[in-house]
């Protein structure tokens, strides 16, 4: 029976109260551990077409008569379009249409950052479109630009009120402490730089708009476009069968979609609008910079008695303010916590969610600070973390938490310290550091799946979600195969089209598996029940003794064993249709993911070069569906995190607000040569309170603790406290000098 509930919904750490219709979920969880298909390594269902270059991405969509759009962007950090004349552009060869500010969502008269879109042209070729941009006559009125986040906060240039949190009495906690450690930490702007840039192809078919787009959320794009353009939602069809990475930056429609839709309407031709790599580095979203002024106070027995944080999220012109203080509030048992988060509105490109937004930044500050407490108290950093273990989330019980087990498994990696130190020499110092991870990842309703069983005994899972490269098709196929009782190769998963399947969640917030997985299982169970009902009638047996195992219908008494395809052959063109919905999250519980990273790093104390040599990543995300895909996720998160920590930084001219790093030689992402040994472990214990699967998400957790773990390894190796990301050579040499001064030696580095 459908049930109407009022519930809290979490996406990327944002909570809202919503009405939800959920269906009861009567399925019991499977027993823990590897099953027939679930919990066993599976090769990706769509690996072959991706590897062979057959997968058709949005970048590969070519429609007959398709035009190409180019976007005119503001050269100024803050300016207003006083006048604009598109006519000269329209007269150029190949040009078919143009739009100006106010004529498509996303094109504004006021440009709030250098790179803000203001106009666009559609032409036969992209080269013609781009050339035509130069012909647009535009007169700008320059406005004052605020580029410094702290200045912005002082002047009240902010997005909303400061976010304040307090439990206990912070001042009293500090007063009672034996040691108080303070530190200011800064994190930089980093860019998603998905290999496929943000892009859409739009085509009007009558009054229906077809959108092929590189997105993490086909339903989100459908609803946003319908709302903005005043269309009935089902007149908008959004297709994304394969997409080349998003990492949080492709959760919404984007100006490129609206530009393509409007130019397609004006020209009567399909229009493609694809960002260039340089545009991608300016105007496609970013992880915002933060400034974190942190305090930790502890008693000599290692009890943390107060934590305080004054945070500034340097958000840029748009985006949303992520919970940078989240780890400080949730990771440790501490009675007295006080945080405040300011959100600076500066004239820089807008923030978009990037893989655990806020928590990546906040964990860097907090977990560096915790190690400084350990040093001040002269206690083992791992012991300090165990001692301050949180058994509830500010009074709310966890649905499951196995962080203690993560610490247990971290011990053997942590115990390598003597051996690692012994490999140091005069120049290269080696050390070991650790950091804990906390993040969301419980997913939630609504999400739906259908199953279709044909007379050949194959099973199709149909749901309008997208596989952004995380292995979604494979994990969903495994779940359906397990529930239905067939080998994995008998299951196909059809995704990527809002007109072909029911609503499915966005591929973000580590929510895909925990949101969709239970719906897919329920849909498979529904179809299986119907098959068994038919079998009971056909063989005149009681349904309760029938089951499907390894593709055969079998009876408990052993008298019946018939291949599913043989049995279903009689159906001809008839199909068995199952449906499933995601049930509710447990009420009154915090659903969170946990983990620990132990990093071994080498530091060249003469040049400031840092090499990460080994990372042990231990994660607790409930039941693991595909251990092979899960390992790949962890490796990917760790490697992206190493980039965030050591080499990636979006640089801006502080005078003009222009972005300086717009190419992939300037914005330095990790290559295969930068990859350390990565050891990956999962607790793999189903969350008994969470859905019929007990699985949480894994996309984001592995990137959360890596920066702090690297910084703590640097401290272990050299005594240097780094305070800034990226840990550039300048920052490291500064920290080494500071450490030397602290030890009383003359600063001679």
């Amino acid at each position: 029976m459908a049930r109407l509930i009022r519930t809290e919904k979490e996406v990327e750490g944002n909570f809202e109260e919503v009405w939800l219709v959920v269906e009861e979920d009567p399925l019991q969880q499977w027993p823990a551990g590897p099953l027939d298909v679930v919990g066993r390594p599976a090769v990706r269902k769509d690996a072959r077409e991706r590897v062979r270059g057959e997968a058709r991405f949005t970048a590969d969509i070519r429609l007959p008569g398709m035009l190409h759009a180019a976007v005119l962007r503001s050269p100024y950090a803050h300016a207003r379009v006083k006048s604009i004349d598109l006519a000269p552009a329209l007269g150029l060869p190949g040009v078919h249409g143009a739009v100006g500010p106010g004529e498509a969502p996303g094109l504004e008269h006021e440009a709030g950052y250098s790179g803000a879109p203001v106009a666009a042209v559609a032409a036969e070729t992209f080269g013609q479109a781009r050339a035509a941009l130069d012909a647009i006559a535009i007169e700008w009125e320059l406005l004052e630009a605020v580029l410094d986040p702290e200045e912005a906060v002082e002047r009240g240039a902010v997005h909303g009120e400061a976010e304040r949190y307090e439990r206990g009495d912070f001042e009293r906690g500090v007063a009672e402490a034996d040691v108080v450690v303070e530190g200011t930490y800064r994190t930089q702007v980093v860019l998603h730089n998905s290999m496929e840039t943000h892009q859409s192809v739009c085509e009007w078919v009558g009054d229906r708009l077809d959108i092929y787009t590189s997105t993490q959320y086909v339903w989100g794009v459908r609803n946003e476009v319908a709302r903005e353009l005043g269309l009935a939602p089902d007149r908008v069809r959004v297709v994304c069968e394969y997409m080349g990475g998003g990492f949080g930056s492709k959760n919404s429609a984007g100006e490129y979609t609206f530009v393509a839709a409007e130019l397609a309407r004006r020209t009567g031709r399909p229009v493609r609008c694809a960002l260039t790599r340089r545009e991608e580095n300016v105007a496609a979203g970013n992880r915002n910079a933060t400034i974190q002024r942190l305090t930790a106070a502890a008693r000599s027995d290692g009890t943390i008695v107060a934590l305080g944080g004054d945070y500034v999220n340097a958000l840029g012109w748009g985006g949303w303010s992520a919970g940078t203080e989240g780890p400080m509030k949730m990771l440790y048992a501490c009675d007295n916590v006080r945080t405040v988060r300011h959100t600076a509105k500066i004239n820089t490109p807008p923030m978009k969610a990037f893989r655990a937004p806020g928590f990546v930044e906040g964990t860097f500050g907090l977990e560096c600070l915790i190690d400084q407490v350990a040093r001040a108290l002269d206690v083992d950093p791992l012991e300090l973390r165990r001692k301050n273990y949180a058994s509830s989330n500010d009074g709310t019980p966890f649905s499951s938490k196995n962080l203690r087990e993560c610490y247990e498994r971290a011990q053997k990696h942590w115990d390598r310290r003597d051996e690692v130190h012994a490999r140091s020499d005069a120049t290269w110092k080696r050390g070991v550091g650790m950091a804990s991870q906390i993040w969301y990842g419980g997913g939630g309703p609504p999400s739906y799946a259908w199953t279709r069983v044909g007379s050949d005994g194959s099973i199709a899972v149909v749901t309008a979600m997208q596989d952004i490269g995380t292995g979604t098709r494979t994990a969903m196929a495994q779940i359906a195969a397990e529930e239905f009782g067939v080998p994995l190769e008998r299951v196909e998963v059809m995704v990527g089209d809002t007109s072909r399947g029911p609503y499915a969640t966005l591929s973000a917030g580590s929510s895909t598996t925990p949101s969709m997985g239970p719906a897919v299982r329920a849909a498979a169970a529904d179809a299986k029940r119907q098959v068994l009902e038919i079998a009971a009638q056909r063989y005149d047996l009681e349904q309760r003794i029938l089951d499907i195992r390894d593709g055969r219908i079998v009876s408990a008494d052993g008298n019946l064993s018939v291949a599913l395809d043989e049995f279903l052959e009689m159906l001809g063109n008839a199909q068995i249709l199952g449906k499933g919905a995601r049930g509710p999250n447990p009420t009154g519980m915090s659903v969170l993911t946990f983990g620990v990273h132990v990093v071994e790093a080498a530091v060249d104390v003469e040049t400031g070069e840092v090499r990460v040599e080994r990372v042990a990543a231990i994660h607790d995300v409930g039941r693991i569906i595909n251990p092979l895909g899960a390992e790949s996720q962890v490796e990917g998160g760790v490697i992206q995190g190493i980039g965030h920590t050591l080499s990636e930084a979006r640089l801006m001219d502080q005078e003009t607000g222009r972005i300086l790093t717009t190419t992939l030689d300037a914005y330095r992402m990790p290559t295969i040569a930068d990859v350390p040994e990565i050891v990956c472990e999962f607790i793999d214990e189903p969350d008994e309170h969470l859905t019929n699967l007990g699985s949480k998400g894994l996309g984001e957790p592995p990137i959360v603790p890596i920066a702090a773990a690297i910084a703590n390894a640097i401290r272990d190796a050299t005594g240097a406290d780094v305070h800034e990301l990226p840990i550039s050579r300048e920052e490291l040499l500064r920290a080494l000098r500071e450490a030397k001064e602290r030890r009383g030696a003359p600063a001679a580095v």
């Binding site: 590897v51 270059g53 998603h192 290999m195 990475g245 092979l628 992939l664 990859v675």
Partner: protein, 146 residues
């Protein structure tokens, strides 16, 4: 327009293309060989890698009219054992960079059938993978003939 003659995956083509057209553009737009991806279009990421006479080349910054040799794209390597090796090792996430990775790897193993880890890292360092499939790519190349 000057005639462009190209041999791609063993097939000879005669095309009209303006001087200045990149090889990647010709492959994708004129020949429909969309397996070659363009991710940066300025020679920094390796997604567009093809082989010319067995040597890896960045097709997005190679002028089509300057190509003097046989071009091999991912479409010509679809039955290469590396494809199954990548699949087995899970050396693919979003897959946008993967065809370029396979093309680079195929050139490596043709010249060095049993590459060391160091040789793999040297040969593959020009192919960026933002998803971070590198450990699996290394594994796939190490075991490409298994």
């Amino acid at each position: 327009m000057p005639e462009l003659r190209l041999t791609v995956n063993g097939d000879e083509h005669r095309l009209d293309a303006p001087i200045g057209t990149s090889l990647a553009h010709v492959l994708r737009e004129e020949l429909g060989l969309i397996g070659t991806k363009i991710a940066c279009n300025e020679g920094h990421c390796g997604a567009c890698t093809v082989q010319v006479d067995g040597v890896p080349v960045l097709s997005c910054i190679t002028l089509a009219h300057t190509v003097d040799g046989d071009v091999t794209t991912i479409e010509g390597l679809r039955d290469h054992p590396l494809v199954e090796a990548f699949v087995r090792a899970d050396a693919v996430q979003c897959g946008f960079c993967t065809p370029g990775q396979v093309v680079s790897a195929a050139a490596l193993v043709a010249a060095t059938p049993e590459p060391t880890t160091e040789e793999i890292r040297h040969a593959m360092a020009g192919n960026i993978c933002r998803c971070g499939t590198y450990p699996k790519i290394e594994e796939a190349i190490l075991h490409w003939r298994d």
